[in-house]
Symmetry: C4
Subunit: 229 residues, 4 copies
């Protein structure tokens, strides 16, 4: 699994989603209750599979010589709060960060969005001062889960969030899927930004039936996109 | 022809027109009434010429072990509706999608546009709920052909459309030509976006005589651009 | 000289200034009264030094098996109108085209601009219908020279123009220098676009003394930038 | 140290921070009171470690056959004014230049910013005509130091400035660190530009407690990001 998580981490620079060390990917083994995550602040071109750190669901390092990502408590909280997810990604990809800094949901404007995200990707409420000053990284997970609960969102149907003033977290059935969703998020953010600038006063929101059509064309029992594997 | 269609598909990542598997190219043999299209959801770096799928003009798979692109009914409809075209391309290239999501025609602002597109590239009307919920991909072709009929456009003079809330389809005399047009569309969309932001209140539309000059410099009996072959 | 012009042409794709074949570079031998230019519509990866075409100052092809660039009459007119220039470049580089399509001068906002262009790069007046319908490419040169005369500009101090609804032409002491100026123009257009969007109501124009300082730091008898060669 | 400064200079093209020769990096040996800087106007692909020029803190060339960067007096002034800094970088990176030309501070909108810059990156006041016409490059240093004094900023906490109508200077504990800060500045400028366009009327400024949290997570005695080395 270290190799898998290493490979998923190395997709971040390949997909142009990170500058320097600003990203991390983890994947969980639900049976063992352990997840594997990138170490903190290590350059991608010096990262090795054996550098990956193994952490339990209380945040204790179980295996590894290096410090795990400083965002490890966020990953841990998400694995506990969202039992269906198998991988988590955090990046500072610039288009998604632009929406996070602007405090705006990433709106569902097109089928590119609907193929992956079943509705707007929420900009979570900002952390309060108290949530920032103590257990900050854990509380980042708290505000994400709270936003999904408040809006009644299924985290597997909308596998991404914009943490206000910070940037995106995405997840998926495993680490590779979570990275895929991080890339889709970035591409859609770029498209939506330009659509908003082109036509700021129109209602560009996708109608529900087109959202349904594209999402369920790729997901669930009646999906018919791809080769069925 | 599988090799030709494979080669044309591989131009999409080369020209930066696709993310993941979000694009497809087909080409038709008009004598046989068959077209060759990319399989659905296969990564470009794993695609092989022999994976291409052969489909007839009713949409039946005639040859090939893989599912054809989920957009195959759109390609089929276009080949039936536009008898002069020989190749069709669909992508989610970001600048063209931005206009499609904004619901705006790609305006003819400059000679870069006029060299390839004889007038605005239309944003088609949105599909109705009924058109989305049944035979969606076929109806995508229907709305394209309806838009061209309504506007009285010659599909060979304006070989592109923006499907509302979705993205571009382009076509041409063969698959390679259709890919060329997909790239021109993307480049022009980028230019037009910035011109619109720079000067939103001016009329930037190209005068008819300059549209004529550039289009007919490259197309038709009196063309004098290139080496005449 | 064919080799030199070939090399200068090949810098256009290297500097990301062209899509497909949308660019051309020429250089003149003033003693012989002949210039060498790229052939029309040939892909950059198939271009060879021996394909370059030799043309005299009346526009007659003197040597070469291929048709010269369709913009040859524009190059010819500029060599006649501006006796000090030694090379000419035309591209459809997207940022410069955006200003040309918007019909706006590229303003002198910063030292990046002033290091190369001594003042705004003019957007020339549009060609009239008559100028478009006959001798179009020659008239493109006419409107450029007319704009410089009207504004009293020295073409060696402002070695670039934006042809309305079309794109940039640049020039310089030789072909390589003209390509350099084409790249600077594109970079400055990108910067200026963003500055204009950030602060649309302020006067961002560079004061004359800073324009003087930077321009003359690099040009003329008192230049002290570089290694003095 | 020439090798170190050469290596740091070569990071500028690697990080997409320079066009042509528009950038320079220096590093100081505080014990010897000498700094090493790139020569003026030499192409990056022809630059060699032995070309680096050694300069003292009065601006005299101590070693080297080439002219030092024309910005050498700015570097010298900064080393004298800010005793804690060990390296200086100047570029014309396009996003940072866009803010400099617009005359706007780069605002602290997100954690990407706060991880490196403890507050807004100031746009310095413009040089006066007198400051431009004599000892221009030295006066560029003067206005930077004056801006930091006026605002009461610690140059090690905010290791960057936008010189009005010009572009960014960054610094750090050594040349490599200064280049790192130049890249962060460029990435943050891109993000902030888009956030401002998305939500121009909201107050997007980071609250002090989040600025504190992220800055001190990476800097100072209680830092816990990375591997502690």
């Amino acid at each position: 699994m270290k190799q898998r998580v290493y490979d998923a981490n190395m997709l971040l620079p390949k997909y142009d989603l990170v500058t320097f060390t600003w990203g991390n990917v983890s994947e969980i083994d639900r049976e063992k209750g352990l997840f594997v995550i990138k170490p903190s602040g290590v350059d991608y071109d010096q990262l090795r599979p054996e550098d990956m750190v193994v952490v339990d669901l209380k945040g204790n390092v179980v295996e590894g010589d290096l410090n795990p990502s400083s965002d490890t408590p966020t990953h841990m909280y998400l694995y506990n709060a969202f039992p269906a997810i198998g991988g988590v990604v955090h990046t500072h990809s610039p288009w998604a960060v632009s929406f996070a800094q602007a405090g705006l949901d990433l709106p569902a404007f097109g089928t590119t969005h609907a193929d992956t995200f079943y509705g707007n990707v929420p900009a979570a409420s900002a952390l309060t001062e108290k949530e920032v000053t103590s257990a900050y990284e854990l509380n980042t997970g708290v505000v994400i889960a709270r936003e999904f609960a408040k809006r009644g969102l299924d985290p597997m149907a909308v596998p991404a969030v914009l943490v206000r003033q910070h940037g995106p977290f995405t997840w998926g059935k495993d680490a590779h899927d979570a990275v895929h969703n991080a890339k889709v998020l970035e591409v859609v953010a770029e498209m939506d930004y330009h659509s908003l600038q082109l036509n700021p006063h129109a209602n560009l929101q996708l109608p529900q039936y087109l959202l349904d059509k594209h999402y369920y064309r790729k997901h669930g029992a009646n999906a018919y996109y791809g080769q069925g594997n």
